[in-house]
């Protein structure tokens, strides 16, 4: 019985992502005595772990959307730009100022906040639909199709912000990225909600099966009568919305929108998170939980690099090095190679 449990555990696809995350957390804890320390302060939990969770939320959101796209054998490299667009739209629509009227301070926004949020998400959806259209109807290669929006999106975001960094002065909006609910960052609840919704959608409907079938063998899926194109179309649309939500969180967190830098290189981090989580870029089997863990790995790594005082000019190199090692560790072929060498050396 115990053996069987061990077997299931060692074969579980999430084993390596979890081990990697634990290892990174341990390294952090070893160099930073207060790393694991949590305390209750200002009505919420406070500590490095909470920080990591909070700052990983946007990446989690983007990675979740990316997971489905990658499972269909596609890729969406425009998500960073969509984050910037969504942030810019939200920031512009809210704008806001603190008006003191008759001695009473009130927050005023250009549009009501729900309208602004909806507007930003709608534009993100349109971005996703555009990608979906290019990939599924026009038949463009996903990397090229989404490259268009990746490049153009930055321009669009800058058009919206007028080339400036728009600062948001509307207090209630800050809750999305900075607020706390039940002592935990509110952004985490958003990511969790999307995660749970996706989990239900892929397990309780045929979506998971269809996405995998399309990703593994699009031609066979088509012959079996699956609406292969429609699935691809909506997967890209959904990925756009996820990036849009991430844009809201990001802009709320930094209380501004920077068309040029918001969500910069986020597409690469998201692809990395998905891959670290055990979803292959060749499509098919995917793991939503894996991608969430992947996002946490990346955020923990970033945190470690900063907290260990790695000079900023080399931190990308260090990050790349760690990612390289992690990828090797996760590769069954590489582990097999090492095992053979170890056995030979022992013999």
């Amino acid at each position: 019985m115990n053996n069987k449990l061990m077997h299931t555990l060692t074969r579980h696809p999430l084993l390596w992502p979890v081990v990697t995350l634990a290892l990174l957390l341990a390294i952090n804890a070893a160099f930073n005595a207060t790393f694991l320390h949590l305390e209750w302060r200002d009505g919420h939990l406070y500590g490095s772990l909470v920080d990591i969770l909070k700052s990983a939320a946007p990446l989690m959101l983007v990675s979740l959307g990316m997971t489905l796209v990658i499972a269909t054998r596609g890729i969406d490299i425009s998500v960073g730009a969509v984050v910037a667009i969504s942030a810019a739209i939200a920031a512009w629509m809210i704008g806001g100022s603190l008006v003191v009227h008759d001695g009473v301070a009130t927050h005023v926004s250009r549009f009501p906040m729900p309208v602004a949020i909806l507007g930003a998400l709608l534009v993100a959806l349109v971005c996703g639909l555009w990608n979906g259209l290019l990939v599924s109807v026009v038949g463009m290669q996903p990397i090229i199709a989404t490259l268009i929006l990746m490049v153009a999106g930055r321009g669009i975001a800058q058009l919206i912000t007028g080339g400036q960094i728009i600062t948001i002065y509307y207090g209630p909006y800050f809750f999305i990225g900075n607020g706390y609910l039940f002592g935990l960052p509110f952004a985490l609840f958003i990511a969790a909600a999307v995660f749970v919704a996706l989990l239900l959608l892929t397990k309780r409907t045929a979506l998971g099966l269809f996405i995998q079938a399309v990703g593994i063998n699009p031609s066979a899926a088509y012959v079996a009568g699956l609406p292969a194109r429609r699935i691809m179309f909506w997967v890209y649309a959904f990925c756009g919305v996820c990036a849009g939500v991430a844009g809201l969180v990001v802009s709320s967190n930094v209380k501004s929108a920077d068309g040029n830098n918001a969500g910069m290189l986020m597409e690469l981090d998201a692809i990395l998170a998905v891959t670290l989580g055990g979803t292959a870029l060749t499509g098919g089997r995917f793991s939503l939980a894996g991608s969430v863990i992947g996002a946490l790995i990346i955020q923990t790594l970033t945190y470690a690099i900063y907290s260990l005082g790695v000079p900023p000019e080399v931190n990308l190199v260090v990050k790349a090095g760690v990612v390289f090692v992690v990828m090797l560790m996760q590769s069954a072929e590489f582990r097999g190679m090492v095992a053979t060498h170890v056995r030979r050396a022992a013999a």
């Binding site: 995998q212 066979a220 012959v223 079996a224 699956l226």
Partner: protein
């Protein structure tokens, strides 16, 4: 100078095995200057392998090749091309994103002299390309991209490329499979002229008519062995078919019997003049409920193309498709599935199985597609259904959660059959359901087909093994050269089918 009556290219005793499986067993071939020579044989006869040995793609394990009396052993397609053996492959093997001239001279662009730094001489290249194409009666803009021309022109460009390397031997591997009648005639005119100019041409095709229209001599292969070399005029069609399939087709009487027609019955599916340009000529066909209709015909006769038209994998240009009496437009498989059709595709690996998904998921896939995204089949029902089919069809697998890719071919095929049976189709189209699977599994699948028809399902059965078609079909529609040439009642002999195929070919 070599003897003018000796063959230009001669192969003798050529053998080749892949992973210990012999594919060519001591095959010989003689090509003479100024002749068009047909290389014939069924699937797996070894034609492609022989051509690949000839063109240096594979090295022969044994045997001798001589070109104009000198022994050769090309190590690569480039080497054989340099020796003067050029090949035009079935699928146009050019770069659509280069111009016509660039395609013709790819890899050996003419250069300007060294004092001009050996730059590419575009003017010379284009002029040369124009001259070459003019020889083929083709006057087109050689600076336009290849992709902007239809397949027939691309084929001509491929031939021009083959000729431009001062070829003595031209090998054409099914060059006509994507051409329509007029285009075939134009190609033949060119080939006849090349022949008259002294070229030796090896022509591989599945179209019997074309063999007799064009070729002077025929070499027949079967199961990797040389059956014989004949002058075309000495080998009438029935004899050619007999040589290809390896026996006089007197053999077996079919066991299928015609299904008596009920009064006032509407056929489940009815095709009237359904055609698709370049793939299927106008065809009438009907299948009634409970009837097995076999599509008989040789490879390339249009069997698969017709099945794809019915199932919406390709779209008809003309004609009408009626399902249970009412006309429908079926332009995608999901529409066909909604009408109660199912299709086990010819190519199990690329169009059938979803290799990394489990047997259970593969079996439920089509049913789920029909139920739609939101209406997921409950897990316990999925398992029950999968278990039931695994048992009923005798699918050998560890359990229903094993990835289907790990199963043997026959068991994969049974699982695909199960996928469609789960949807309880009214019409099941089976395209080569028994290909590449062992005898026992073959028998089980055939039995299952008969049982299903007995329960009232309409079946369209396609197989290149005419023996199978005759055995299971209530009625046989015979195809040749992409059109229906006639129908035979169930129980006809194999010979009748072959005679119908061979008639006035």
């Amino acid at each position: 100078m070599s003897d003018p009556l000796a063959p230009v290219l001669e192969l003798s005793g050529v053998s080749k095995s892949f992973f210990g499986v012999p594919v060519l067993k001591g095959v010989g071939l003689r090509l003479f200057a100024g002749e068009v020579h047909a290389l014939m044989g069924q699937n797996g006869a070894g034609k492609s392998t022989l051509i690949k040995v000839l063109t240096g793609v594979h090295a022969a394990d044994a045997g001798r090749m001589t070109l104009k009396g000198e022994a050769i052993a090309p190590k690569s397609p480039l080497a054989s091309q340099k020796l003067g053996v050029s090949t035009v492959y079935q699928e146009v093997n050019l770069c659509p994103n280069l111009t016509v001239a660039e395609n013709i001279f790819a890899g050996r662009y003419p250069r300007k002299p060294a004092r001009k730094w050996g730059r590419i001489d575009w003017a010379a290249m284009n002029a040369e390309a124009r001259t070459l194409l003019a020889k083929l009666n083709l006057d087109i803009d050689v600076t336009r991209l290849l992709a902007s021309y239809p397949v027939a022109i691309q084929q001509m460009v491929a031939i021009a490329r083959a000729l431009s390397v001062s070829a003595q031997v031209l090998i054409l591997d099914e060059p006509t499979s994507s051409l329509d009648d007029d285009e075939v005639q134009r190609l033949f005119t060119v080939l006849r002229r090349l022949r008259d100019e002294g070229m030796a041409i090896l022509f591989v095709t599945h179209f019997l008519e074309q063999v007799y229209a064009l070729c002077d001599r025929i070499t027949v292969l079967r199961n990797g062995e040389l059956v014989g070399e004949h002058l075309a005029r000495d080998l009438p069609t029935p004899a050619l078919i007999a040589a290809m399939i390896g026996r006089e087709f007197a053999a077996k009487q079919g066991t299928g019997t015609p299904l008596p027609e009920k009064a006032g019955e509407t056929p489940l599916i009815e095709l009237r003049g359904v055609a698709q340009r370049g793939r299927v000529q106008a065809t009438d066909l009907s299948v009634r409920a409970g009837e097995v209709v076999g599509l008989g015909g040789l490879l390339g006769s249009g069997r698969t193309e017709l099945a794809q038209l019915i199932f919406g994998l390709s779209t008809a240009d003309e004609g009408e498709l009626k399902v249970a009496g009412s006309a429908h437009r079926v332009d995608c498989p999901s529409a066909a599935v909604k009408l109660g059709m199912g299709l086990c595709p010819e190519d199990r690996k690329t169009d059938g199985i979803v290799a990394e998904l489990s047997v259970r998921e593969n079996i439920m896939l089509a049913l789920q597609a029909r139920r739609g995204l939101w209406n997921l089949l409950p897990m316990d029902e999925q398992c029950r259904m999968a278990e039931r089919f695994v048992k009923a069809l005798g699918i050998k697998t560890n359990d229903i959660e094993t990835p289907i890719g790990l199963l043997s071919g026959g068991n994969q095929q049974k699982a695909l059959l199960a996928r469609w049976l789960a949807t309880q189709p009214r019409l099941l189209i089976l395209d080569e359901p028994t290909r590449g699977i062992d005898v026992a599994a073959k028998q089980e699948i055939m039995d299952e087909i008969l049982r299903l028809a007995g329960e009232g399902m309409a079946v369209l059965f396609i197989s290149s093994e005419i023996e199978e078609v005759v055995r299971v079909s209530n009625r046989i529609a015979v195809l040749r050269d992409r059109r229906k040439v006639g129908e035979l009642p169930g129980g006809s002999a194999e010979r009748d089918v072959y005679q119908l195929i061979a008639a006035d070919a």
